[in-house]
Symmetry: C2
Subunit: 294 residues, 2 copies
């Protein structure tokens, strides 16, 4: 049986897979549900498998072939040991490595070149590569990090709506708008915040960009504070030698015009997506091993 | 059986009780474990009962007398309806009202005078009274409020230790000190923060005051930001007519020299503690009803 390469981009809302020839040439793509190896490893394993089988079908290949394929699986939380070992042992592939979703994004965005990616989404993390060295900045999660992330921006907006209610800070159209959604009742904001996951706070982030564009004073203040945290993190990766910066994630396009002038000339477009990066890593790591006995 | 008044000051770490004559004259005091009616109402009920019985014993009275006493019970989370109704129905007293811990603190601190208290502890809340009107500012909890609180200050310090680790912000003796306690491993900080309760973050707050006194740059920045949030909230209560401000809570003494000059002339010492306030409220509300049938 011919052996193929698989790239997996596992995320909190969906899992994408690609199948490629051993030289890295893409043959097909597939998709399945969420692959969060920390919070739900069984579902993650099922969706990784389903996405890989769908990619084989998309390529006109027998899905049974996934058992002799070699894979790079990119996921969030790759640095949390136990879950990684648990999932890695149970993957249905002939060989597989689990990497961070950031590393496969970096590989996709920059190819084999040096540089850094800033992933600006529900969370934030910065990943730089210089030669064989990959280094991470930030990405410690919503509770104690992820400055400038959608979750932090949305949280800050809800917080401002309470400060405006109390008369401590000024109200503005953006705080009025969010407070109205909570029936203008601070207790409803508190109830929501007590249980909200980062993604639920993050849903309010695009509104801050939208109102800042219209000149809303509170939105401008929140967005400038958030952009400063991104600029500061980019300063670190630049100081460590990254001259090419690629902004990725759901907020990348919104953020770009708000970031510091000093960084603007460094921004480059991504060459390809994270899934392509996963396949490229698989080709580099497993591409020379032509066949595996089924 | 003679009927007495009971004042209860129920907190997250302990519950204190006082028994008084119907004219408000203190007769005895008692103490028991935590009384958190939101997170553990059964234990709260037990500790409220134990503290009241201990107060009766301290006064040389038969503890069985609590069943014909009338009580004011001050607790956090008084505005969360269901828990209050549940606990109120099960209290072992002849009559009882549940009030906020802030209201009994205000009554204790200011007596019957107008003014405001700022409770600066693990959380923050501001309570002002003008005539018969009591108004609250802040106090929405750690997740989305409690600016300037011990929990927020401690959280900010841990956050700075990670920003220093990443090279995004400068390190300083205070960030070095806290990071060393987590084995200089950012993952240990993240693990702690993910599960830490507000009080656990708050344990790091006094260190920020301590290092700020020594001129530590990061401690000074964090403390000035926190003091600004307190100053802003005090501006609100002053603008609404409170000219006498009383700082209460575990951080009150530490905070006072860091608050704005404009507020300094307004600060007054508390006349008495929250337990005395609870008894005074009980005397005002129930003092005229001399006896209850057992």
């Amino acid at each position: 049986m011919t052996s193929y390469l698989i790239g997996i981009d596992g995320g909190g809302t969906s899992c994408r897979a690609a199948v490629a020839a051993t030289d890295g040439r893409m043959l097909g793509r597939g998709k399945a549900g969420a692959a969060n190896i920390l919070t739900d490893p069984e579902t993650a394993l099922q969706n990784i498998t389903d996405a890989a089988r769908a990619a084989f079908e998309d390529a006109g290949l027998d899905p049974a072939g996934i058992t002799v394929a070699r894979a790079i699986v990119g996921v969030a939380g790759h640095n949390v040991g136990d879950a990684v070992h648990y999932v890695k042992r149970r993957l249905p592939f002939a060989a597989a490595d689990i990497e961070s979703d950031g590393l496969i994004a970096l590989q996709g965005a920059l190819g084999d070149k040096d540089g850094a990616v800033a992933i600006l989404g529900t969370g934030t993390i910065y990943i730089a590569r210089r030669g064989d060295t990959v280094s991470y900045v930030g990405g410690w999660g919503f509770t104690i990090g992820d400055h400038g992330s959608g979750a932090r921006i949305g949280h800050a907006l809800l917080q401002e709506s309470l400060l405006a209610f109390d008369g401590i800070h000024e109200a503005s159209p953006v705080t009025d708008s969010v407070f109205a959604e909570f029936n203008n009742d601070p207790r409803d904001v508190v109830d929501f915040a007590r249980l909200a996951k980062p993604g639920e706070f993050g849903r309010y982030a695009p509104r801050v960009f939208e109102y800042a564009d219209r000149g809303d004073a509170v939105a401008l203040r929140l967005l400038k504070a958030a952009a400063t945290t991104v600029d500061e993190a980019l300063d670190v990766v630049v100081s460590r030698g990254s001259e090419r910066l690629c902004l990725l994630g759901g907020l990348a396009v919104l953020y770009r015009p708000w970031l510091a002038k000093r960084h603007q000339p460094r921004f480059v477009e991504a060459e390809a997506d994270a899934l392509t990066g996963a396949v490229a890593l698989a080709a580099a790591r497993f591409g020379s091993q032509r066949e595996v006995k089924a």
